[in-house]
Symmetry: C2
Subunit: 420 residues, 2 copies
């Protein structure tokens, strides 16, 4: 039985909108699971993180690993132009294993330094480099999902698969991925415009056959929604177009959902599908602001997402900032959008909210996976405001604009990162 | 004659919306002024910044130095509550010189590391610590303005001055500040709600007597605007309330301007007053989004501002990101707001746009002050995208979320910062 404890200022969120804290306490881990939070020193190895914040790992529900190579570039364009002019040409490069090796190494290295412990990643259509990305993530100790993307229409020739080949490559990807323990495959139709009905039917069957989760894009941008309306005249909505293939369930992530109508909200709620809310990306690509308060009130599952490289930062701390900021702007600019998100609410979404897609992660309740991040905030706590509460220290840290690094990170009780 | 040249990849903006670039070229400085940009190596000392970006210094038109101590905290509150619950109690501490010394030292140290070369700063009502802040900024080589704040009504007792004392302390502040060369005083009525008519008249006379610029707040928040309407029943608008005291001119900065009506826009344009656009702060405090495109189309002078600590980051790179992002959201959410800002446009506002308040700064045209920032972007330029243009490298750098430090900084030709 592997047991250890971390001694520090512990803070987590079990319920939407509130924190639990345990200052100068011990977070004990047994066999990769949270065992207890206690003020009493346990009889096991104790890791000294006194004066540091100890928080649950964050989950990024939606990001594109191949786009990281141009993260923070070409931000003057809207979604469909941005895809055609920059994203697709970049994704086309991942048939080249030498390029993919360099690009994915940088992606994994930078992701490791941040506060994320779980991720659900889009790769590209290329089976081999998608497997390489899985291997790289697995090797450093990450947990989560990687999808080989499927596209068989309305895409540039170098990213358009034959339907049959797309399906067979996906099955081969899934079978080859059986060697990985912590990074699992996820079925990934890019979005309705890129996938024929035949491909969608085949992918739904594959998800069923292998009991796999599924991820895609939904209601991101008004032009995209209009396009889907033309492509799917018999569907009553964009969400319905996925639902007809059986693609909405508690095992699916729908990225963006900026413009869900009432029927779509009801459908998403009924199916238990997850909304990956990507506030930075939705601003950068001029998509809009998802009315997250409305979705939460309707009982939808919501997590946060960087959507790199629509989002220009890998840091989920930045995404928390942006989720709060855009919710305030929506509240101010659009009547009936509901109250802004508080810091505690956004932190919940980034931890337990999105984490619940991956199982029991993102909280320090007993039996949860021991996904733990240690943050040094000594400078803050000592210099000017020694009276800050643990909650306030966390807010200060999250708003510190990525300036302060993660000190150490554990996934399922295994240390995956230690600050140099 | 002091002459030197910086050899690197030079980029600046002379006209709103476009860049000039000179790759692998020489930026020559003579007696603290820009002399030339040339591909030919000049016959003087050459500073080797090959492979680095060389850009003009950025101007922050509005920030509150005493609020930096709680930067990134208490973001769940709106303006008036946030002022009463957090800002005023913190500002009350600056009568204590020992506390002010620690807090202002941290502020100046962090500001120095960033890309700003010019700042227009609010201190507090306290003359002595305001002078201390000026000294600290002057000592490290900054250029710009610091205002002792004036408040004689609607403020907590510990921040409410007697009108006469407020005026006499201001004159003494201005006279004591004559020892400083580069950091100059600026007349700083906090905002209409904090200042009686008598105080405003006196401050306008002081600005006139000493030929000083002036800074204040205008149209930040809907509750504040409503309050001003009650306080000034005879004024036709909030801007008009300032104008009646002669406080709008090309030497005044009005922070925020989220809600200028058409009359106010015309008045601000006529007077040539500067709008300090603070997008991050206006989101954080749920104020709204200033329609900057409309203001620019009407010929207003516009610069960017962090408004620390309504803004949660000192970095003007982050403010550029946010100015672009909120302009996209406004375009999407509110009809008639005009096109979003492009990266080139926002960069202009952060450099020459706001810089023009301070004189000739923020550009590399001959005769401009040699305010220069060197940025290392080796990692970007070499690893994945060796083909990036200088403009693209700059965009990548600005969006890199403060992760990458400034390498060196010059103000009026004097080196004020060098990365350790």
């Amino acid at each position: 039985m592997a047991v250890f404890s971390i001694h520090g200022d512990i803070i987590w969120s079990e319920r939407f909108g509130s924190f639990k804290t345990a200052e100068n306490s011990y977070l004990t881990v047994v066999d990769g699971k949270i065992d207890s939070v206690s003020a009493e020193k346990p009889a096991c190895e104790v890791i000294d993180a006194r004066g540091s914040l100890v928080i649950p790992g964050l989950s990024d529900l939606h990001l594109h690993a191949p786009q990281y190579a141009f993260c923070g570039l070409y931000m003057d364009e809207e979604l469909l132009d941005w895809l055609n002019n920059h994203t697709f040409p970049e994704e086309g490069k991942y048939g080249n294993m030498e390029y993919a090796d360099r690009a994915y190494s940088k992606f994994v290295r930078d992701l490791l330094k941040g506060p994320d412990t779980r991720v659900s990643v889009f790769a590209t259509i290329h089976r081999e480099s998608s497997l390489m990305l899985m291997r790289k993530l697995e090797e450093v100790g990450f947990s989560g999902y990687v999808g080989k993307v499927n596209m068989d229409r309305n895409s540039p020739p170098y990213l358009t698969e034959k339907t049959e080949a797309s399906l067979s490559e996906t099955e081969r990807f899934i079978e080859d991925a059986e060697v990985f323990r912590e990074i699992r495959p996820i079925v990934t139709p890019r979005f309705i415009p890129s996938c024929t009905d035949e491909l969608m039917k085949g992918l739904a069957a594959i998800a069923e056959k292998y009991s796999l989760p599924l991820q895609s894009h939904l209601d991101e941008n008004l032009s995209e929604i209009e396009w889907v309306r033309e492509l799917c005249p018999s569907s009553i909505s964009y969400a319905d177009a996925y639902d007809r293939f059986g693609m909405l369930s508690s095992k699916s992530i729908m990225a963006h959902c900026v413009y869900l109508d009432d029927d779509e909200i009801a459908l998403m709620a009924k199916r238990g599908a997850f909304v990956a809310h990507a506030p930075s990306s939705n601003a950068n690509l001029s998509s809009g602001i998802a009315p997250v308060r409305k979705y939460l009130d309707a009982g939808l599952n919501v997590g946060l997402a960087s959507d790199v490289s629509g989002g220009s930062s890998l840091s989920m701390f930045r995404i928390i900032q942006d989720a709060i900021a855009v919710s305030k702007l929506l509240w101010r600019l659009k009547e009936g959008s509901g109250k802004p998100l508080t810091f505690a609410e956004a932190f919940y979404l980034a931890t337990k909210g999105g984490g619940s897609f991956f199982g029991k992660t993102g909280s320090f309740e007993p039996g949860y996976d021991a996904d733990i991040v240690i943050l040094s905030d000594e400078e803050n706590a000592s210099v000017l405001r020694p009276e800050l509460s643990v909650e306030e220290r966390l807010e200060y840290y999250v708003y510190a604009d990525s300036e302060r690094p993660v000190k150490a990170k554990y996934i399922k009780g295994r240390k995956v990162f230690q600050e140099a």
